[in-house]
Symmetry: C2
């Protein structure tokens, strides 16, 4: 099969397109499928960007504006008490760009990367586009839907190069604590591979916090960005923190595939790091929505087996309601006007009996969504 034929579309896009058709017909649709913050970018960031527009908008160096690299290094020290040389922080067009770049450096044809199933659907495609093979490892409530040291040891192959964790998880919102990350990092090291820690939902945690993988192992690769915590999706700024020896090959790839990340967004992002009040306002709004859903969903038959403590997702077992979560989601959209992502978007392991709620939607809409689902289920 040609590489391009292995690249899966976002299946939820079909559902989203149908939702837009229904909206065009005048129906109000409740969107609990989308993984994009509903908040505006903090005003301080937008105001800073307005001023920055008076400056040159030339290319920055390929690895990023040094000022942003330095600001992030200072932020890591403050946030996680880790010291990172600024030049190890590579600025990318979003985390998508970071993964695209990283796999170009790490993977050759026939090599593999361990991923959790369920997991972020693009991961599989990033790896295939680099000529590699995603090894999807079923994970469940036992390991809080994450890979662990035993799973790494069991599934690592001779040509495996890395294992990816996303912490807090997508679609499950579960958080890995320091001991678990340390175990994962040790297992990857033992196999001469990399632990890649996707930390894009860091900061969006409730009653806990997620440790940075670099707190436990300086050899880990960390991916993060401004899209979620700072509500800056359309700005397209992410970063990768890599071990010293990967800087040079990463730079070579970045010079070619990006030239550089958008200049205005890079400088505006420096301002974002100061917007702690705006970030806390969003976080507490998400938490309110989360608590509401954690109370209401079980009443309707959605089992939340492991409490999600981060991101803005709730992954629910729907086996009490259906054995086919995909058609359940389609019926829910058509009949109740509520859009939810079916499990199949995240993998194959028990995907027919799971689905994902996103609460990156206003609480009023979420309340209406719950009322509609209750009516749909005749409860």
């Amino acid at each position: 099969m040609r590489t391009i034929d292995q690249i899966e579309p976002f299946r939820v896009m079909q559902l989203l397109e149908r939702a837009k058709e229904l909206e065009a017909q005048g129906r109000k649709i409740i969107h609990m499928e989308i993984g994009e913050p509903d908040f505006h970018t903090p005003e301080s960031v937008r105001n800073a960007a307005k001023k920055l527009l008076d400056n040159d908008q030339f290319y920055t160096p390929s690895t990023g504006a040094p000022e942003l690299q330095q600001a992030l290094a200072a932020w890591y020290e403050q946030e996680y008490h880790v010291q990172i040389a600024p030049e190890r922080i590579l600025i990318t067009p979003g985390t998508s760009g970071a993964f695209n770049m990283l796999y170009a450096v790490l993977i050759d044809a026939g090599e593999s990367v361990l991923l959790p199933d369920p997991g972020y659907p693009c991961q599989r495609n990033f790896i295939r586009l680099a000529g590699g093979q995603p090894l999807n490892i079923p994970v469940g409530p036992d390991s809080r839907y994450h890979l662990d040291g035993a799973l790494i040891d069991k599934h690592w192959q001779p040509h495996t190069r890395a294992a990816v964790v996303i912490n807090p998880g997508n679609p499950t919102g579960t958080v890995l604590q320091r001991q678990s990350i340390s175990e994962l990092a040790k297992a990857c090291r033992a196999h001469n591979g990399y632990l890649i820690s996707d930390e894009i939902y860091h900061g969006l945690t409730y009653d806990t916090s997620a440790p940075c993988a670099l707190e436990v192992d300086d050899h880990a690769i960390v991916i993060n960005g401004f899209s979620k915590r700072w509500a800056m999706t359309g700005w397209r700024i992410g970063w990768a923190i890599v071990p010293e020896k990967l800087i040079e090959p990463c730079r070579r790839v970045m010079q070619n595939i990006f030239i550089a990340a958008p200049t205005l967004s890079q400088y505006a992002a420096i301002e974002a790091l100061k917007a702690t009040d705006a970030v806390e306002m969003m976080r507490s709004a998400y938490d309110e929505r989360r608590q509401y859903l954690l109370r209401e969903l079980p009443k309707l038959g959605f089992d939340i087996v492991v409490e999600p403590q981060g991101a803005f997702y709730i992954y629910a077992n729907v086996s009490k309601l259906t054995e086919d979560s995909k058609s359940f989601c389609w019926r829910l959209l058509e009949q109740a006007g509520v859009a939810i992502t079916p499990g199949e978007d995240f993998g194959v392991y028990q995907s027919n009996t799971h689905l994902r709620f996103s609460y990156a939607t206003h609480l009023d809409d979420i309340r209406e969504g719950i009322a509609r689902i209750a009516a749909f289920l005749n409860k």
Copy 2:
């Protein structure tokens, strides 16, 4: 050899780093190596962006903001008298992103793409990163440094998928006219492959204009962007125009590797399409510099074999001055403080006896550069 080890750095970057060291020591360096406009983004575009910052900065659809796709479709009709369905215009983070996406769709391991040597250095790397093989075809003054139908027929292999032309050329600035493009398009069609026309320097032409490949063949793939003509490098907005049947596979790749191009830049780019006066001001400034260099360089022994009619580059044969253009460029930098790109950045064919002047630099600096080179050569 691992893929990453085949990815060449921009060799001129070492020269540029040394230039920066010299500048840090207080020396003034004349930069005639850089392929980035020295002009600010037009003020109307920056003002539009300031207003747009009051809007949401959410993701656009993966293939681009429909408003920009429509504006570009209207622009193609006005500029080239070709009618293109807006959905065929895929908005990318710069032309680098466009090529990265395109080769992910077109190329599988072991397949090849025909390129001119000398040519844009990233092309070879884009193709290698997709697992493909660049076939570098020596081109010279005979074909005005471009591929032609006979070269395509001669070098096309069973697993060749496409041929790339850049028109106007980099590093040569030579323009392909309609008859030549038509011949190229026919040759690619005859081999069941694609003609890819990189038109990033369109609009920067002098005493002529460059035809769009779509004027002669609707099956061609066109790549273009806002970086050069509109002086918008740091905004990172390019586009690819693809045949209908490639839209869906391109979208799948774009959803994964980009999610979408930067939102603010996409909407600001709509304003750029109206900035015709600002564009003409820049074009005529480039032309003045070009004419100056075309007069002065031959006096110093730089042979310009085919007149460059576009882009902001002059490719010169320096065999009267040296058989080693690379060390010539290094000596020129160290002794005269003038930075020029050696031929080796663009390929291997006669690269030791060629180099590239960029005139994306103020005319005052260019004059000083010429004076310094004259002194360096004792002329």
